[in-house]
Symmetry: none
DNA sequence: TACGAGTTGCGTCGATTTCTGCGTCGATTT
DNA sequence: AAATCGACGCAGAAATCGACGCAACTCGTA
């Protein structure tokens, strides 16, 4: 293991701050070299440097230095190895099974449960739908249920709907059942501590289900949040952010039409700028997002990001 | 990181009130930091925060702020021993019980629970909202909760929203919580027998909450139903009716714009014409309804009509 | 039904406190 | 000799303070 010990000046130059500031950070926030004898020169290990990097990043994102320091101090310094992406087990069917043509919903290779759910939906059988969802939810959890069961079926219906202009009732009924199932999970979960997360749809955005999935997943993990719902005008969102000062905000946009980057910009410019802004959903174009906005690909990624924020803020006090 | 001293802004954000309100509470009710030098910044200890939490909880329960403050001031806050409890002059109110004012939602004479719910909503406090609704739902049932608690508060918000063009976030958050609560009831109820009832919004109609209330009330009464949800085109509705052959159909319309009588006519002309068609909601004009359509005034009336249908079918089938 | 009195949350304004990065100085380490 | 250390202080920015006032609600009364 490379045993490099950086001097104060080197670290300062690397971070872009003055040497004295490093000293101040050490005294004021306890952000210094892991071991240091008073009067002697400071020697920063790579781990110490990583901590400082976090500090730098957060402060340049607009976080209060005191708070950023609290975070940097508590985050277990991430090892050099990159985090393995959370892989959602995608149950592949063993045989190249072919399943019904006829009046069904294309669910792709999403497993038998999905096909069953699709059938129940076609029958408008809300009881069977509710049972299937509840079962899977209890067994596999929210994230897996969403990715492996609900999303495929919903996507399949949407596809068919676009092609044949029918199936609207099916889509409505299923949506409603999914919504109910998520709501049940959300209400069952016991939130711990104040809500530091705000979930909202973009302006004019109607689709709430993915956000509800996120909410349910968070509730399942014991994370408190506030959910605003569909069609939230930018002004209202900013207003809510200013009132509640969330650490992170998730904005969902389903289509390009509702993905106005101005909403994000307004958020970033708000007085109580949230620590993290997540632009979720297929509507957002990666190249049009303002700097400082993160774009999760997955429900799983969104959840883990939210969890990270929660964990790091857990013991800290706002400043 | 042992002693947390929360700043005014942090506390305000945590409680969901404005910073100025905290100051007002301090001056008016003596609810401030235990020790505070005039001119200096306020530093709230955990004990102080606990006192404010009591204040928050009481006001969300509908208690007059002045009285809530009196309680909060007297409750022995379990704090670090050694310091004598701050005794504040107990300003007794000369007049009798009064309430109202400030940035609140007009609920009229709808009871303290409604006022508490309104306050919780203004604070975007979804936990308190959920608790209040759940409590009332369990105690009074769906119908009473809707008429006596939810509808007044929602109407108040809507009114205010129309007047000031604000409060959208509040409306969204509350709607979401109500929706969740109803969903929980709907899923808890055990349906008996096949669903002979179809609930649907009119075409283009966005408001689902009243229908959800009806659904929850039906579930509470053990009636099975199918719920299609918002924005159901007439063709899709007819399709659903033909597929499932319900005995009764409820169509909700909130505004005149979505209350096209043609939808009802189409229903009555469908091959599997339902026994009963209910046009619910303030959108429908009594004089424009085709013959054979019933228009319930109330949630209660809609429920009892649905029950009547269920019962009559039961006898005819079983007999 | 309309109106005045009492209550209450919160926006605004100029002054003050607090935070934060960094420069300076004499002594010490490398 | 160069770099750094600890202590101290400063200046700009952000947050907060106290005072004041407004708007809107409720309730009793005319």
């Amino acid at each position: 293991m490379g045993d490099e010990a950086l001097s104060a000046g080197a670290v300062a130059r690397r971070l872009g701050v003055a040497v004295t500031t490093l000293r101040t950070w050490h005294q004021r926030y306890g952000l210094g070299p892991s071991q240091h004898l008073p009067g002697h020169h400071r020697r920063y290990t790579p781990a110490d440097l990583a901590r400082l990097e976090i500090m730098r990043k957060l402060t340049s994102d607009g976080v209060t230095p005191a708070e950023a320091a609290r975070w940097a101090r508590q985050v277990p310094v991430p090892g050099p190895a990159g985090e393995p992406p959370t892989v959602v087990a995608n149950r592949v069917r063993p045989g190249g099974e072919r399943d019904g043509g006829g009046q069904t919903i294309p669910v792709g290779r999403a497993g038998p449960a999905a096909r069953g759910l699709a059938r129940a939906a076609m029958r408008l059988d809300s009881v069977a739908i509710g049972e299937t969802i509840g079962q899977t939810l209890a067994t596999d959890g929210v994230v897996a249920t969403w990715e492996g069961l609900l999303r495929p079926v919903l996507a399949g219906i949407g596809e068919r709907h676009a092609a044949t202009a029918g199936l609207i009732e099916v889509e409505h009924l299923l949506s409603r059942c999914v919504s109910e199932a998520f709501a049940t999970v959300a209400r069952a979960g016991s939130a711990t501590g104040p809500a530091r997360l705000l979930l909202s749809c973009a302006d004019e955005e109607q689709h709430t289900l993915p956000l509800e999935a996120l909410a349910a997943a968070l509730a399942e993990a014991g994370v408190a949040y506030r959910m605003l719902g569909a069609r939230v005008p930018a002004a209202a969102l900013v207003e809510a952010v200013n009132r509640t000062g969330p650490a992170a905000v998730v904005i969902w946009s389903h289509t390009l039409a509702t993905a106005d980057p101005a909403q994000l910009t307004a958020l970033l410019a708000s007085p109580r700028r949230p620590l993290l802004v997540l632009a979720a959903g297929p509507g957002w174009r990666a190249d049009s997002l303002p700097a400082g906005v993160v774009r999760p690909v997955d429900l799983a990624e969104a959840v883990s990001l939210a969890l990270a924020v929660r964990d790091s803020l857990d013991q800290s006090v706002e400043g």
